[in-house]
Symmetry: D2
Subunit: 108 residues, 4 copies
Amino acid sequence: MTEPLDVAKLQRRLAEFAAARNWQPYHTPKNLAAALSVEASELVEIFQWLTPEESARVMDNPDTAHRVTDEVADVLAYLLQLCEVLGIDPLAALDDKIDRNERRFPAP
Amino acid sequence: MTEPLDVAKLQRRLAEFAAARNWQPYHTPKNLAAALSVEASELVEIFQWLTPEESARVMDNPDTAHRVTDEVADVLAYLLQLCEVLGIDPLAALDDKIDRNERRFPAP
Amino acid sequence: MTEPLDVAKLQRRLAEFAAARNWQPYHTPKNLAAALSVEASELVEIFQWLTPEESARVMDNPDTAHRVTDEVADVLAYLLQLCEVLGIDPLAALDDKIDRNERRFPAP
Amino acid sequence: MTEPLDVAKLQRRLAEFAAARNWQPYHTPKNLAAALSVEASELVEIFQWLTPEESARVMDNPDTAHRVTDEVADVLAYLLQLCEVLGIDPLAALDDKIDRNERRFPAP
């Protein structure tokens, strides 16, 4: 039986993966932020010429679904590695942000 | 006592937040991917003129630390909302991707 | 009477502007490429929640028209500065690229 | 003898290229802005793991030089097409912006 997936476990796998390949010197916060934005753009690229309606159906095509899932993984990988090197807890950061947004944009 | 934070709980909060403001029509996969990339660029903007060494110290300044944490939250918010509308499990996607990368880039 | 605007003249103005402020050390190709992508995302931000039809009418609103024009200027500024530091002629690069695309995607 | 290259001539070539392939329906301002940002990120990708010093030498390697030049062309292509559909004169926009920046950031 395997333990359930969580963010800390994935961060550990990513850190071991990078360490085993001596990639840490490349993983400055500046470089990781750039890599994150590059992966986010690869996600945009999949959607760039689609109508809103077509974009809602991207998962119907198995090849496109695989490509989207793969890019989501890449974005998350760099986001978690950036958080790791900066000491940020991403889930707590988002929870706080939603709290602030609830005060900033009160529901009608 | 509050339940521990996890991705599913944050996705629920984000979905309720958007629903209460009638924002779902804007949340096409195409628009969410664009918004994700815009937030990733706001993160890059913080680092764009810094040297690698300066970028490693961004959390030393409380204002910059707050700004970085805030942008991390925004990136994660759009990533989780995109996954929600597309039915992608982001943690499983990343776990699979690390498996594939381990085969693709064997450690030396 | 002023000479007509051209790319070389604008590159000269940009180089003088940066030199007068001692900004050249920041203008590595890596940083200029990042700044270019950040400005391109600020352009995307204007359009991110618009329908295709709304996006076609952005110039009808004077404030939005000004904002779009301003971001176009920022993108071009960093593109021309990047070309300057790398010794690339942007117009010749594009002319060559269209030649190659005409061979690669023959018109029906 | 060929006429010298200028922005208007390149915009004409790009418009004819798109029209011959019936691509105009895809060329909404929103889609062109997204495509521009995707190409800008492909430029960032070339530099993302380089040190500032390595980034200053990218044109020394003919393959990398070609790749950088190609991405510069792609960024300019989408910028000029976006300007064309929006009726923006990119050189005048940048000239105005430099005027404004000179007032906003007076040289020391």
